[in-house]
Symmetry: C2
Subunit: 435 residues, 2 copies
């Protein structure tokens, strides 16, 4: 079942005919090489996880599975922070890719800054798992870790606005001039009047935007967590989608339109696939161990590792806005969580769903409140508790209580559907040109 | 007292007149800026150490001070792995330096590969402190972490042989031809016959040599440890020496001989000072907390961090052979330790000196052996124990038992004397040209 998200990519790689020119043959060669490295990464990761799990248990890095209340697994110590293994194995795989692939200083800069930012986040995540850091560090450190990434960004800082509402908000087609909003935007960025508002040059604002992406990615996966297989599962689905998006671009809509079959592949497309492939390999190994009933927990180490890898992919792969489309469930969860995270609304220590020890069904978790508070969101207006603001609770309220494994599958299915929607928006509805 | 190793550098920076050309003014500007960043690093590090020490204590990262047996400090839990703080603060300082200094892709590559390798080692060291890794990982991982460093090395791979024994071993001045040894060396490297054997082009062998430097530096500081202030102290002295060496080169013997006063400064000289300055700042803060009686332990985290930083400096600063001269006490300790590390000779769990609870004096530590074994090294030939093979024991046998603080000062004095000898060898006896 775990291979389902990979099917479109496999079809693209093995069934799209390659045109005979050199670029496409070289591209295919990189691709096969990287697939080989990733398979080795998967094997190494799968064999190391159990070894390191023993180390972690011995060092006291373990926790109870709160979703197993009332079962015989309730009091078992589950080793924690196993994201350490895919993190380190991924770094090894990427060092190998770099040695094979990076040909000049510019590519070396991109690889090294990517490696450094990801390594720093894996390190920070592991430190967090061991020391249980305060929230302020979790916001400051990723910001700083993303600085080398941003300073080595060499792509365009302009944003392309597709035909439609967004563009007409900035450009009045009838008078052929900027709208009032367009003039306001023009104070902080440059709206290209020759391109009739379809290109907005954001310059340093784009760098700030990308810095925020890094902080957002690392934290949003972390707060959408808590049930077996969810952190690794969502990251796996997103990574598979990114892989397919890039392969689709490489196969069908290269720079010079009209050419297909991996001709005209750009360096940053290859970079993206070479980074995302070992991530998929190592995450898959982790997911198999973390799948219900979890033998290990992934920890903040994995969430930070995955988040920063996506940020790196979005920034150096030049698709930070498409990345946000893939993150829609995380964006939803992030924004509805804000009132609780900022303590505007009471926030309990854990916001995981509550498990019924008799039926093993998961129910909405809640925080205590007074009878006349939060009546707009509560299950019944005179209840003395209110469901926590999380995507898991939203799903449980729509579909009703369900078992843990079923819940994970429902959420991951939503993640897959999000990717389908993102694909249609990006490549069919708006047809944004590939840069 | 801690400022003594810095005195020569301070004198050079503030009393050598700057020539008025642009290069030297710019060099001075970088230098002052970097000094400012390093002072900020020192302050940040000093204020964070106590905060993080609390975190580490709470997480169970602590140990007993074996050198305090028989005192009231014997049973106190001392927080461990505090090398974490200078490690992270150093990375922050270097990111800032990079943003200010790195102007082109080539410099970005050097900075980013340095940052990645150091970050990976700090991470590995912390993992080791938490999980207590096996020896094989400690040899494999630094090797891999140094790969990006080596692949971004852009300097010469030739070795300059100074006049004297070494050169005449390869080149026969009378017949003006290679010696037998010279011809043997010529099979794996290229001895420059036009330069009469004074230059040996090592090509890939030089890269292997640098990879070994990385593994050696990270492990040699780690095994010369165990008494309060020693790890941080030796690293501090070595770093101050490197700083002075580079400042001396910049001030007095620039590329185009004859010019002085910071004219003709090269990029890798600036790189070295910009990396070593924040290292000195953060290590000084750590040393003050780790000085006798230690309030914290530095852990493997610090040893690995320091070792990799020195390797980076040696490789990208183009002075890997001079670096080995500065490491003479570590080289000595490393080589005499080999029989015990490889278990050819019995090796107890700890090889720290043994403290006499009454007098508080430190004595040689030993491992048990039979009466007729190791008679060549034992204190008396019929003793049933033999001193461990460490530099600390060598010193205790020469100078007799002494108190812990005194022992640290003696070792650090030896380290300072080593630097003086290295300076004389490098700049006075051999006068190797600065590249």
């Amino acid at each position: 079942m775990a291979l389902i998200p990979l099917v479109p990519s496999i079809v693209t790689v093995f069934y799209v005919p390659v045109s005979a020119d050199e670029t496409s043959l070289v591209a295919k060669y990189w691709l096969y090489l990287s697939i080989l490295v990733s398979i080795m990464g998967y094997i190494l990761c799968a064999s190391l996880i159990e070894v390191v799990a023993e180390y972690n248990l011995k060092a006291g890095l373990s926790g109870k599975d709160l979703g197993k209340k009332g079962t015989k697994h309730e009091s078992v110590d589950v080793p924690e922070a196993l994201g350490l293994v895919p993190g380190i194995v991924f770094l090894l795989c990427t060092i190998i890719s770099q040695l094979i692939f990076a040909k000049n200083d510019q590519e070396m800069v991109i690889y090294n800054s990517a490696l450094f930012s990801i390594c720093f986040m894996v390190f920070l995540g592991f430190t967090d798992d061991v020391l249980d850091l305060k929230w302020r560090y979790k916001l400051i450190l990723p910001t700083i870790a993303s600085l080398p990434l941003l300073s080595s960004y060499s792509g365009s800082t302009a944003m392309f606005l597709p035909q439609g509402i967004l563009r007409s908000a900035l450009w009045d087609m009838e008078t052929n001039a900027l709208t009032a909003l367009g003039r306001m935007v023009n104070h902080v960025a440059i709206v290209d009047t020759e391109a009739q508002g379809s290109i907005v040059e954001l310059s340093w604002l784009f760098l700030v935007f990308m810095g925020l992406i890094a902080v957002f990615c690392t934290n949003s996966i972390n707060i959408m967590a808590g049930i077996n297989g969810l952190e690794a599962g969502q990251s796996y689905v997103i990574a598979c989608s990114i892989l397919f998006f890039k392969l689709y671009e490489m196969a069908f809509c290269c720079k010079d339109s009209g050419i297909s079959g991996f001709a005209g592949v750009t360096d940053h497309q290859i970079f993206t696939t070479l980074i995302v492939l070992p991530f998929i390999g190592t995450t898959l190994a982790l997911l198999q161990h973390n799948w219900y009933p979890a033998k290990i927990f992934v920890g903040d180490t994995f969430c930070y590792f995955a988040g920063m890898t996506f940020a790196v992919l979005g920034i150096h792969g030049h698709f930070s806005k498409t990345l946000l489309l893939l993150f829609l469930p995380q964006v939803y969860n992030f924004f509805i969580s804000i009132p609780q995270v900022l303590r505007i609304v009471p926030c309990p220590r854990h916001r995981l769903p509550r498990v019924d020890p008799q039926t093993q069904l998961m129910h909405c978790s809640a925080f205590p409140c007074k009878k006349n508070e939060f009546t707009w969101i509560k299950l019944s207006s005179d209840a003395e508790e209110c469901p926590n603001f999380t995507i898991i609770n939203t799903i449980l309220r729509i579909f009703g209580p369900m078992k843990e494994k079923q819940l994970t599958i429902v959420i991951l299915t939503i993640q897959v559907l999000t990717s389908v929607v993102a694909f249609l928006l990006r490549y069919v509805v708006f047809e944004i040109p590939v840069r």
